[in-house]
Subunit: 484 residues, 2 copies
Amino acid sequence: MKINSHLYAVILAGGSGTRFWPLSRELYPKQLLRILGDQTLIQQTLRRTLSCVPTSRTFVVTNRSQVDMVTMQLGGWERGIQENIVVEPEGRNTAPAIAMAAIKLVVQDPAAVMLVLPADHVIKGTRKFTEAVKLGTKFAGDGHLVTLGIRPTAPETGYGYIKPNMRQQLEGQGTLKGYRVRRFIEKPDVPKARTMLRSGGYLWNSGIFLWKASSILDELALYQPRLLRVIRKVWRLQNNDAGLSDNVIKIYGQLPSMPIDTAVMEQTSKAVVVPVDFVWSDIGSWSALGDVASKTKAGNVVNGNIVDLGSENSVLFGNHRLVATIGLKDMVIVDTPDATLVCPKSRAQDVKGVVDILKKRNAREQLEHQSVFRPWGSYTTLDAGDGYKVKRLTVRPGAKLSLQRHRKRREHWVVVRGKAKVTCGDQRLELTIGQSLDIPKAINHRIENPWPETLEIIEVQHGPYLGEDDIVRLQDMYGREIRS
Amino acid sequence: MKINSHLYAVILAGGSGTRFWPLSRELYPKQLLRILGDQTLIQQTLRRTLSCVPTSRTFVVTNRSQVDMVTMQLGGWERGIQENIVVEPEGRNTAPAIAMAAIKLVVQDPAAVMLVLPADHVIKGTRKFTEAVKLGTKFAGDGHLVTLGIRPTAPETGYGYIKPNMRQQLEGQGTLKGYRVRRFIEKPDVPKARTMLRSGGYLWNSGIFLWKASSILDELALYQPRLLRVIRKVWRLQNNDAGLSDNVIKIYGQLPSMPIDTAVMEQTSKAVVVPVDFVWSDIGSWSALGDVASKTKAGNVVNGNIVDLGSENSVLFGNHRLVATIGLKDMVIVDTPDATLVCPKSRAQDVKGVVDILKKRNAREQLEHQSVFRPWGSYTTLDAGDGYKVKRLTVRPGAKLSLQRHRKRREHWVVVRGKAKVTCGDQRLELTIGQSLDIPKAINHRIENPWPETLEIIEVQHGPYLGEDDIVRLQDMYGREIRS
C-alpha cells in the first residue's frame, strides 16, 4: 500500500546516449550506466520509487531498441516486471510516453495518481524524496499538476527554471510546501541564470511530476488534442494486435518529439511546484558527474584502471584498460574498450558534436559497445578480420538463445567456461570445457545453459558476410521477432 | 666500396622503452617504432648507413631481449644480416657496446673505421649526412675521435653540448669543417642552455661518432682499462662457447652502465667535432615528436583513428581504436590497444614516472604489447579468463614455429586465414580455413606456413596455468633456446 493505494510510478526510460558517450551509446543510453555506485541509474531509480510504490504499481516506459536491456537491468525475466514495461516504437520525448502511460493507468484505476520520473537522474536522500512524493500525491489527488522544484546551487544553463507564486501557497506538511506556479522559464543564458540564482525566487525544474492520470489526460485533451488522439489510436491498435504492428510503428513515427513541459506544463493553470531539498542532478554531461560523484583529495572522480600523477579536478573514468594521466587540470577522460574521449570539462557538452560525426560515418562506436547485451546474456567481439570474426558469448544460467540459422556464415564453438546444451540440426549434445563443435551454414542451432554456472563460448565465424542481421530466428523464449 | 672500404657502420640498438610509453615497451623500445613515416626508426637508420656502407660492413649491437625484433625489422631471416648482429647479454649503455664492436672489427680489419650511431634518432637530409660521414671518416683515419655536432635551434636541456675550439680548425671539405673539441658540457639547466644558444659557440652532442676501432680501443685502455678487460674476456668467452653462456651473462651483469661520452670523450685529447647542418633529433619524448613530424594546420601531429574537434598543437597518436578529442591545447594523447597516455606536452618527460609505477606493480603493460612479435610472426592476446586464453597467431609466409609441447595446457586451433601445415604427435596434416584441431597436453606440436599467404589461427588455450614459460622447445629454426 505504501503512500497511497492509487499511486503508480511511471519511470521514463527512453533517453538517448549522446552526452555520456563513449560510455553511453545510442543503444546503451545513460540510464543503463553504472556511473555512481554499484547500481545503474535506472536500477537506482527503481529502488527509489519502490520506497513509495510496490513493484506491481511501477511502470517503465521505454522504446524497442532499449526494452531488452531495461528489462534485464530491472531483473525482468526473473521478477516479472516485464508485464509493467510499456514499449514505445521509438522515443518521442516525454509527452507521448506520458500520454501512453496515463491511458493505460486510467483504464486500470480511474483514480490513479502518477509519479512520473526520468530513469537517469541522481537523487541523494530517499527519505526526503519520499516525503516530497507524499505531499505531491496529496496535491495531485486534488487535481493539481505537481512538479518537484530544486533550489538552485549554481547558475546552471542546462536546466529549465520555475518561478513559484509565493503568495499562492498550498497547505504543506512540516517544512514542505506547495505553491502555484507563476511561470516556467526555458534554459537560460549565463547572465539570466546568474540573476535568477541571486534573486532566490526561482527553482530548477526537476522533470519529476505527480498528477492524476485523468488530470493529465484532460490537459492533453485541452492543449494537445491531436497528440492525444494519435496516442489513443496507438493504444487501441496495440491492444488489438498485441504488439507493435507496422501500422503502429508508422503512426508513432509521424508524431512530433514533444516534452511534457512545453506540451502541457507551460500552458496549464493547474501547475503546482513543491520545492524540495534533496540533492538532485540530471548529470547532463561528464563534467556534471564531478558535482555528484565522490572525489579524491585532488578533486578527481576516478574509476577503473587509472595510473595518475598529480591531476586535479578531473574526471578519470576508465575500466579494465590501463589509462595513465599526468598533470591534468579540469579534464575529462573516458575510456571504454573500443573508444576513448579526451576533452576539457568546459567542452564536455561538445561530445554531442563527436557523436554527430560518428553517426554520419555510420561508426559502430556511436551505436553500440564492443560488448552487446542480449536477453540471454551478452556477446563481445574479440577480433574481426577478412572473412572471420571471433566473439565470446556469455550465457546466463537458465538462459537460452533463440533457435536460429544463418544464411551466409558457419560457426565454430569452443566452450571455455561452464557447460553448453547444444542443438545442431537433428543432434542434441552437451559440450564441456575445451570441447568444440562446427555449425555448418543453414543448419538450425541453439545454445542453452540450463545449469547454475555461467556459460562462456568462444565463437569463430567464417563467411563472406558476418553481419548481425544474417539470422533466421525460429523460436525465442524472450518474445523476439521470429523470421522464417 | 662506397666512402671507404675500411668504413663500418655500428648501429647501437639497445635503447629502453621508457620515454615513448605506451607505444614503446621495455621489450619494444623506441627504435622499433614506426612513429615517423612508413619505416621504423631502426629501419630508417639502416637505410641511412647504407648510403655510406654496404650491408656486409654494417653491424648492429643489441641485447638478448631485443634481438629477435631487431633481426626481424632489418629483414634478417631473409637477407642474412643476422651474422652482423652483435648480442649483448643486456644493455649497459654505449661504452661496453662500442668496446665489443671495436674488438670484433679490429680483429676483422685492423684499419677499420667505425661510424657509430644510435638506432633511434631522426635525421633529415641523407646527402648532408653522407658528406659529414665522409669528412669524419677522413679525420678518423688520422687518429681523431670524431663526433658530429648539431647547431642548436632551441635551449634544449635534454642534450649534452660541445664547445669547439674555433682556433684549432682541421682541413675541411666545402663548407664542412672539423674543430678540436675544447670541452663537453653535460645536460644544462634552462638558463645555461639559453646562454649557450645565444652565444652561438656551442653545438649539441649528437651521439654519432667516427673513429678507428684501434683508436677507441687505445683510449678505452687508457681511461677505462677495467671495462676493456671485462669486454675482452666476454669476447673470448663468447668466441669459445659460441654464445651467451651463463658465465658471460654473469660477468656482463656486473659491468657498470656507462656512456662513451663520460667513459672516453670527455677525457680524451683526440676529440674532434664536425658541425653539420642536417635536421637531427633524438626525439627524447612525445612532445619532441611535434618538432620533427608533419603537422596539421592547427599544429597537431595526428596518427590513426582520431576524431578531433578544434584541438591545437597537440600530439594525437592512436591507431585502430577510436579516440575522440575536443578542444585540447598542447596535449599528448597516445593510444594503444591495451594502454592510453594523456598528459600536457610540458609533462611528457614524466611518463618515466608512470613506467616506474607500472614496473613496481609488475604490470604487463610496461613490459610488452598486447601483440608480441616472434621470429615467425606475432601473437595477439584477444581474451583471457579463468582457465582460458584466446590468441590470434599470425604466421609469416615461409615461417615455422618451434616444435614444442606444453606441460599444463591444451590448445585448440581454428584456421581463419591461409593454410596451416601442422604436426601433432605422430600426425602430419593440413588445415584450411574453418578447420580446427585439438592439441592435447604434453603432445609435441608445430605449426608451419610453407605457403606464400599469411596464416592466421585462433588459438583457444585451456589449463590451470597459461603462462608463456610453459613451453618445451624441441626444434627451432631461429636458433632459440632448446629445452627438453
